[in-house]
């Protein structure tokens, strides 16, 4: 470890910048790609261009890349989970081949496979979710989620007439962007204030949100405001559905809001400052408030999520 730090500070720094550029580039140029997917693609990119000779060097390079990405100002949760899975994936392969080159090519191949599977994930989730949107229903959603958008597009294509309420979701007002995207599909939508969630809840039939991360207990980490929405939904007896891809499963078990790691809640630039004056970006919704999770592995109850994670990591 120390050797690496001393030996190649410059190249690493350059690489770090490059990585940030690549990562940022993907996110800016392709609106449709989520942070997690972008991270995985960046890592694949790094893997392709990597010139290391041993597995350990490769591993540390990748780890450094992950750290670099985490240092950007983009949401960290998805990056963290996606990268962890990716690393696990490629290293779980049988690497008892003769040369490192072969090893690397195997890893590359599997990386691309992984990516391909994950690209299909969103479609599967959308298909599952659209069957739950029936004709005449009113859906409440929070902020901008690409998966939820995809799900609603599917439902609209199936000739279902439904209405969407979107929260403004300060501080970045991404709800407005969501409305613009929905109106392109001719779906009638209304943007509401975050504080109006309780007011609107009695009129809606269901709540559908995306997730930035799914924790081991079956709860989710999502844009701040999701927890409030979940509590309100439970009180008004409305179903609370979460749409997410499976690579967002995170190895965390928070017991309350403060248990979430700070790096998830605040962007890296703000981490240095006095956190008591900052607003968190995400919050944690416990599994008891969630009715069902729609993933590319199928429709899961929150208790099934922990089962999945156990199967993976043990």
């Amino acid at each position: 470890m120390c050797v690496n730090e001393f030996c190649v500070p410059r190249t690493l720094k350059m690489k770090k910048k490059e990585i940030e550029e690549v990562f940022g580039g993907i996110l800016e140029n392709e609106q449709d790609v989520s942070a997690g997917m972008a991270a995985i693609r960046t890592l694949l990119n790094v893997l392709e261009r990597d010139t290391s000779e041993t597995v350990q060097e490769l591993d540390s390079n990748l780890q450094a890349a992950v750290d670099a990405m985490k240092n950007t100002d983009y949401p960290v949760t998805a990056v963290a989970s996606g990268c962890e899975l990716f690393l696990r994936f490629i290293t779980l392969a049988k690497l008892d081949t003769k040369t490192f080159g072969e090893c690397k090519s195997i890893m590359l191949h599997r990386g691309q496979l992984f990516l391909k599977k994950l690209m299909e994930a969103r479609g599967k989730v959308a298909k599952l979710a659209s069957s739950f949107i029936v004709d005449g229903s009113r859906v409440l959603t929070h902020s901008k989620s690409r998966v939820v958008l995809h799900g609603m597009k599917e439902a609209a294509r199936a000739n279902k007439r439904f209405e969407v309420y979107i929260t403004m979701s300060s501080p970045d007002n991404s709800g407005v962007e969501m409305r613009r995207l929905l109106e392109e599909e001719n779906i009638p939508c209304t943007v509401i204030l975050d504080s109006a969630i309780g007011y609107v809840m009695e009129q809606v039939d269901m709540v559908m949100v995306g997730a930035e991360g799914v924790v081991e207990s079956g709860g989710i980490i999502n844009k701040v405001g999701s927890y409030t929405m979940a509590v309100c939904a439970r009180e008004m007896k409305k179903p609370f559905y979460v749409l997410t891809e499976s690579f967002k499963f995170v190895r965390l078990y928070p017991l309350n809001q403060r248990d979430l790691p700070n790096e998830f809640k605040y962007t890296s630039s703000k981490l240095g400052r006095d956190l008591s004056k900052e607003h968190p970006l995400v919050d944690y919704t416990p599994p008891s408030y969630i009715t069902l999770l729609f993933t590319d592995l199928g429709i899961l109850t929150p208790s099934a999520v922990s089962d999945e994670l156990i199967k993976l990591y043990l």
Binding site: D135, N159, R161, P188
Partner: protein
Amino acid sequence: MRIDGSTFMLVLMSKRASKGLKNSAETLQKEDVVQAVVIVDSFKGGFHPITYFIPAALVPVVNTPLLDYTLEWLALSSVQEVILFCSSHADLIKEHIRKSKWNELASAMVITVMVSETCRSLGDAMRDLDAKAVIRSDFILVFGDMVGNVNLLPILEHHRKLQKQDKGVVMTMVYKEAGHGYCSRSVDDKAVLTVDSSTGRVLLHNKMKVGTKRINIPLETYSDCPQVELRYDLQDTHVAVCSPAVPPLFSDNFDFQTRDDFVRGLLMNEEILGSTIYWYKLDEAQYAAHVSNWQMYQSVSHDIIYRWVYPFVPDSPFIQDVEPYVFLRHNVYKQKSVRLGKGCLLEEDIVIGENTSVGENTHISHSVVGKYCHIGKNVTIYKSYIWDNVVIGDNCHISCAVVGHDSKLGTGVRLCKGSVLSPGVVLPSDIHLDANIVVCGPLHRKQSLDHDVYKQEKLAEKAYRLLLDETEYDSEDSGQAQKLCGLWLGTSGGDSESESEEELSASNETSDRASPVPDDTYLFFSEVMDSLTRGYDDKLHPDNLILEINSSRYAYNVSVREVNYFVVKALLSLPIQARSADSAPKYLKEFNKMLQDFLPILQNYVRNSDAQHDCLQALEDMASSTDTLHDGLSKLLHLLYEKDILAEDIIMKWYNSGDENSTSTALRKQVAPFIQWLKEADEESDESDSD
């Protein structure tokens, strides 16, 4: 399944044989096979003139042809052999059966189609069946346009049990209790049923014709049975379980044309024919109805949508290839492939077929829409029935109407109050139809049956509006189109409907077309009319005429008072009928002339005070129904008084005993001057007498 007439028996045998080979383990006795006879045409002309284009049995109720309901219902009752008897549009029926699932080898029910083009009534059909001798045991008799969910096997068992007790049982009629105020009984089906409570035997069956408010029940009915029930709350399902003796009975009596004739004939001549009829009441949960006219169409559609006919509801498919409907709140049945525009409102009680597209801001309620329809924007559809493949333009307003298959309506069309469009009509834009029947092409003379004459008015290339001729005494059909509207406006709807019919038919009492009722008195009356007309034309001696009338009277067993009544009536109608006197002065002239010849006849019959009462009654009846008599009534009374046919005191008694209704008060007002003069004459004569 394309079999007719002579080849029928042979094919039936081979089918039986092949089935026998397949199920060699089962010994299929011929007598155990449950047979059903479906008379596809109900001969009532309720859907006239749509029946020119499609047979009544293929009229879709809630997007399924009626014949399918009937056949599926029979399959539910485990009927094994069905004999379909077609008379009109036989090729369409055969085509329909051929394409259906009943034609497959795997079907448990065998359908045989028999065709007879000359058949004009149920009686003819039964005679045909008798001639072909296909009935082997008790069979179920239904029509082709029935909807029901009753398992008929228990009724068949009940019938067989009855046969063990009473050898003469020929028919068990099936009825359903229908409450008052709910229009589930067809207007022409209302009857009072008098039954023996203990055995269920039908004693009397009185058809309540429109406007009749009284029935006569002879005392003999009560003498045999300790407990008699009179029921007027029954809906006639037109299902009957018959014994094999029924077709021969039809063959023996050629005047049995409809089932009502049959029932009446049997009940009247019970001692002679030795046959009895029983009735069977359906349980609460069982449903059966006969869709014979638009009123029943509406009522049965309503019942299906409200799920009374479960399991034959749109969302449980019994035609296996059709995607079932989705049952949503407020009784909205929708196929998955329906495309609804923005702002479109489906209110309640709606059925929408597959691949139909509904435009924006359209409002549909209480209606049935078929498949592959295209409904435009801003359309309002209310209480209507739209069949398949219809294109409706924007801004149309359709209420209480039926639009047949493949029709096209332009923009801005308004259909109101019971309009019926036949299949294939193309209506141009901005047409306003009010209670009209529109057909897609000019009706040829030979197509229309002898008793219907329509005036055709061309609206467009493929739209001809049908209007009834004024002189035609057939008012029932225009009534049919009008009956589509306002039937569900609550209980008042039922009453107003009967009142309007009274007005329609009141003026046409002399001609009763509904089904030729061989009422004895009516026959007598017509015979008297004939004799008198002949006598007047040929200048016969009145004594001979009296002889003729008396012999008719004995032939029809008419009572004395009725004789008087009818003779006077005949005499009064003679000038109208024979000489077409249509105005009061002309009438009086004719009557005067006639009276000179026929005075002895009148004097012969109107001898005592009772007869004079009858005479006055006849006068009153005729006057209230015929306008010409109405105006000349006082002069007539004067004339008869002069000739000493009527006495003053009888006239006064009649005048004072008038009913409260408007017609008689109007009459009495009419004759008031004469009565006044009579009173004065009386006083004068009294004074002169006292002098």
